[in-house]
Symmetry: C2
Subunit: 361 residues, 2 copies
Amino acid sequence: MESVGTLPQVRHDPVSDSRFLRACRRESVDATPIWLMRQAGRYMPEYRALRERYGILDLIKPPELACEVTLQPINAFDLDAAIIFADILPPLEGMGLSLEFVRGEGPLIHNPVRTTADIEQLRTPSPEEALPFTLEAIRLTRAELEPRGIPLIGFSGAPFTLACYAVEGGASRHQATVKRLMMSEPAGWDMLMTKLSTVAGNYLLAQARAGAHALQLFDSWCGELSPADYANYVLPYTRRTIEIAKAGGVPIILFGVGAGGLLERMATAGPDVIGVDWRITLEDAASIIGAPTPLQGNLDPAVLLSDLASVRRRSEQIIAEGRSLPGHIFNLGHGIYPETPLENVEALVQTDKEARPVLAS
Amino acid sequence: MESVGTLPQVRHDPVSDSRFLRACRRESVDATPIWLMRQAGRYMPEYRALRERYGILDLIKPPELACEVTLQPINAFDLDAAIIFADILPPLEGMGLSLEFVRGEGPLIHNPVRTTADIEQLRTPSPEEALPFTLEAIRLTRAELEPRGIPLIGFSGAPFTLACYAVEGGASRHQATVKRLMMSEPAGWDMLMTKLSTVAGNYLLAQARAGAHALQLFDSWCGELSPADYANYVLPYTRRTIEIAKAGGVPIILFGVGAGGLLERMATAGPDVIGVDWRITLEDAASIIGAPTPLQGNLDPAVLLSDLASVRRRSEQIIAEGRSLPGHIFNLGHGIYPETPLENVEALVQTDKEARPVLAS
């Protein structure tokens, strides 16, 4: 007979019991959890002050700075989750691509991937080797957040979105070059997407092991694909990424921009939560997905540029709509715009908090 | 008893009996009609040769040149409809906005609409006064096409898309300024959209009266809106535009980019045909729309940058999918890209023509 002392301790874990993680697990919540994509960003004066002195990569790579930026919105607003300050593109550096963020122009890859020979040369280093700074930033930030009961989200770009930047060499309106490769070079495409899903999957897994409580896979450009192309050329690799990351044992959110036509297929990649943008109602998204998957979203970030009354009214509508879902995490449908007034963010978060008594009754 | 000579003549009218117009009317066709958005455009050497000598507006405004450009793709490929060479923005000039196409940068409005006072000053001249050149181009081109049995499509930008350019002052990634106006200034927005729907509706009607056999309303930016915002702030004005144009007695096509989440609402605006892009399957689009509305679309224009085998295979898939619809007009899901090889356009049109015996059997 074992002594009481050897029984597993039933300890109250405020992070595990947080609204955000409970919603990810489809458990009941006392209020709709809320966080905002790009919540650490240029709309905050604290962030702009740092960006005057540092480039994006210079803020991402020193773990102390990444931790500081991650905490800025948590200190300013009553948000229910933090997301590690990082970017979707640094994993490409470890693969051998030369990445630069050009002020005012966005990311630039100096040696984009165009041929099968280019793809063959791409490396797939371990995240511990290629991205130790973000893993260390996660350890530091988790230690800061744990006493406050706030979960930390890690993330990666999804294989297709990474492929878009790797092939196009930067932002691209139509993604025509990467689509040409995808459609015309099936073997090269498979090699590229296999490497990218290895890198993204291992990176997510390493973030979970470093302490991230949840993981988000950003597929910023999948909405440019037809459902058939998504199913044939992208979904298998998204699924593989999620399968690798699942070993981390934390919830995985799959988010696509403009992906209303892909939701049914995205759900089969195995995410725990699906993020949707504002171009489709939460109700329609849930109906397309079918399975009882919690949804994350879906306020148009442009609403935060309008007046306080509109911010409150539109937020209330989404919170109300979310109550009929199997689980709902309130978020924007895209990253917050730099011109967003702070008082509108405050009004948004406050509206969410004020909805609590109604929910609890 | 009347003499035989006074009976209405039952004349064979090849244009009215064309595949394109038959499909618009949900009548049976011997093959899927095909035309391509921006079929008169930079992928054609004949067009590039003219553009070396003329700016866009310099090609649009002289009716003889607009007619010549309209006929270029009709002479080169076995297309089932022509679309008048024009642009969605010239109607804004007549309203008092100063429009310029800056080479390599796209359209620019020098005096964008930002305040209610700006909106009050916008004029709503008749199309005969403001856009006589396009109406004359339609008369000229119809006379050229009639003996060949090919219908001519007229078009206009939809009120929301016109509002985007009028307010943003040019291309804009997020349409944040126009959305702010829409959300925060309901009275100003109503005045703006009422004026734009008057101008667009009257312009479409005048094109039908000048001889256009069908009309397309392009809502290039409506896909940036949430379904609720579309329903509240855009749909009533799109419906009004279509109601005005209906007096022309020709089929009206409503096309939106990235508008999969809006299709059910778009159908209630009263179009005869709905154009869809490749981000949703034709089957899903038909199921969302519900009513037996013919669909136009929906090949990803990036397919035309790939190899011949891919062009043929993907075109065949869409033609096959379209056969289960109440009516199908084959088109791209967006304007053809300037880098498109001519042989791929030829293969696309040929694939459509080769599918005929299968259809006829």
